[in-house]
């Protein structure tokens, strides 16, 4: 019959329309503005309304999510900030749009470079959030952030400096727990190896 295929399509659309109400009734108030509501609307068996009502609701981001780099610092016992960055420049070299610029610190007496950045800038206007800097940093000093709400009225302040970029290691551990744990284990192993090598070296020289 002519028109049967068309009617079938309309039926499909109508079914979707009805399902939005069915799901709303079934789940009740829990469907919107709650954590499990958002979760249930992202599953593979979702039916009915699919939209997330931003900004009232926000999609939880996965751990690997990347948005703008930040610098990790370790907190000392007296609250001092100890940046992990050694200003080796690998991130600046690997950066595809070349948005990272680093000023290396030189020892005022000898003039030799010290493993510490004097200044560190990221031009967030041209950062493309590729995450290569974080991936290739040998010191786990630069990591990708999860905070994507950084809109501002002016573009004059969009070259971030060290103050703005530095974030504590506890923050990093909070947003990327699995990565952080894995890195800590690797770090401890490395240090243990180093210590063992030192021990054997001193033993050898003593022997």
């Amino acid at each position: 019959m002519t028109g049967k295929g068309f009617l079938r399509m309309l039926l499909g659309v109508f079914k979707r329309f009805v399902m939005t109400y069915v799901e709303d009734f079934r789940k009740g108030k829990k469907r919107y503005y709650t954590k499990e509501g958002i979760e249930s609307r992202r599953k593979a068996d979702v039916q009915g309304i699919f939209t997330i009502q931003y900004p009232e609701e926000k999609l939880p981001v996965p751990e690997e999510f990347r948005f703008l780099p930040f610098l990790v610092y370790d907190e000392g016992p007296n609250g001092e900030k100890d940046l992990r960055c050694t200003s080796c420049g690998i991130c600046a070299k690997v950066c595809p749009p070349q948005c990272i610029s680093i000023v290396r610190t030189n020892d005022p007496v000898t003039g030799k470079p010290i493993p510490q950045p004097k200044e560190f800038y990221i031009d967030v206007d041209i950062c493309m959030n590729c995450g290569l800097c974080a991936e290739y940093c040998p010191f786990d000093a630069i990591k990708m952030d999860h905070d994507y709400e950084i809109a501002s009225y002016s573009r004059q302040n969009n070259i971030y400096d060290i103050e703005r970029l530095a974030k504590p290691v506890s923050y990093y551990a909070g947003i990327r727990p699995t990565n952080y744990a894995a890195e800590e284990i690797a770090r401890q192993e490395k240090e243990a190896l180093k210590a063992a090598a030192k021990k054997s070296a001193t033993a050898e020289s003593a022997g």
């Binding site: 079938r8 990347r66 290396r104 959030n129």
Partner: protein, 579 residues
Amino acid sequence: MSEEQITVVQIPDISLQYEGRVVKDARVGYSGFIVGAEHLLEIVQSLRDELGFDYLSSVTGVDYLPEGKMEVVYHLYRSIGGPALVLKVQVPRDEAVVPSLYHLFKSADWQEREAWDLLGIRFEGHPDLRRILTWEGFAGHPLRKDWKEPYFEEETKPFKSRWPEGITGHIEDKNPFHDNVQYPDGFDPETWVPQAEEALYTSAKKIGRDAELHTDTIVVNLGPQHPSTHGVFRMVAALDGEQVVFLKPVMGYLHRNHEKIGERNTYLQNMPFTDRLDYVSSMSNNFGYALAVEKLMGIKPPERADYIRVMMAELTRWMNHVFSFGFLWNDLGSYFTPMIYALEERELVLDIFEAVSGSRMMCNYFRFGGVARDLPVGVLDRVKELVFERMPRRLDDIDKMLTTNEIVRNRCIGCGVLTAEQAINNGASGPNLRASGVPYDIRRADPYSIYDRLDFDVVVHYHGDVYDRYLTRLDEARQSNRILQQVVRDIPEGPIMTGKPAYQVRVPAGDAYGRVEGPKGELGFYIVSTGKPNPWRYHVRAPSFINLTSLEDMCRGGKIADVVLNLGAVDIVLGEVDR
């Protein structure tokens, strides 16, 4: 597979057959054959008619500035499958003139225009050698090695000013507006008359005029700002009543010279830029680029990485095709509700991409010799849930809603017909080619990665109209689903990288062409390395761009309303067309 053994087709040594006219490219690391410009036409014709190399896939140029040479590189295939035959023509740089292949292969049309535009190689005998991606008032040919852009800082990245001095600041402060534009000699933007544009309109007006009846054609500009052009794209059409008698696409509104950026970048830095080509299927772009560079480096990814790569590529294909059904609906006039149905499926796939690579669209996930990181915990289960439960069900839903729908059938059947000969000659690839009855799929014709081990069919339909293009995509999405089911079942444990991850890879000198069957068609990367950290030449054979060559053939003789439908069915992404 056991009964019908795939025989590996070797490229014949044509330097023996055409002795004296063709020599092997003897440079270390290079492949292919060098032909004298004066013999090019006869040899290509003989290759096409006698040896069956009937598919001219890619035409591009390389500027060898130190040697003072300009090289044109052709990639020819047999449409029955097999590896590429690479032909090279070397001409002096100052007077780069090469005979045009336009009359042998229509696919050379736009690619030669592009080579003229970007490299300044003149193709003799090309009937319409205008600039294609840049505009008339553009000074010089940007891919020439001695051309410099307005914000020029250094020949190659990484720039030395970034470390250790760390000079920073807004780049345009150093190079203020008005100082950042270059014009050709004698070009005044104030008094300029767009000549090429005028010529285009005049030629459009000439066609289809009936002297006896005193009728005139109407010239209509569709786009560049038009909701149906899927981006900024313009078509100059001449109409006789409602019928299209002439149609020329005008593009380049999104042009950023991806290839020049690519030549400034190091190899790894290019990876995130490939995401921006066809931004709907970035994983697939990563794949092609990684393959090309791996070919040069002579490495292979480990087993698990191969499986992950194929999984991502097929998820991309599935997503892209479902997205194209949404657009088909949209172009047919059912505004946006069904489009959202397609977007819903896409979201679920993007969630997986986000969990794996960290970004929904700009994935930047592939590395040379593997992938960036292993699948996070739980992702494989989500993929399984999708490919075994949701995907087949959703495809059936779409099938039910569209395939027998009378409106879809009335509009699409017989609309925008492309014959098999035309499709091959125009260099169409992907679903566009297969819908015209040519069973050519790179995954089978020239297998890469693990596709030779997977069980799937090459989808082919025979009418070459919009409806068959839709059916091809639908069946292909089903095949993708089938591949995905095998991949998630068989994916092995193991490492995901060959060698250590390095931020600067060592690429030996030579050239390589890596190609994948992207969702849109053949996506190829031609790379020339001189052994330095940056590629000497980086060319993208963009499927959307070359598929559009067929647009005029599809639209001519049809109604103006069908132009929108035809354009949608070619399935383009302007990020890739304009590059």
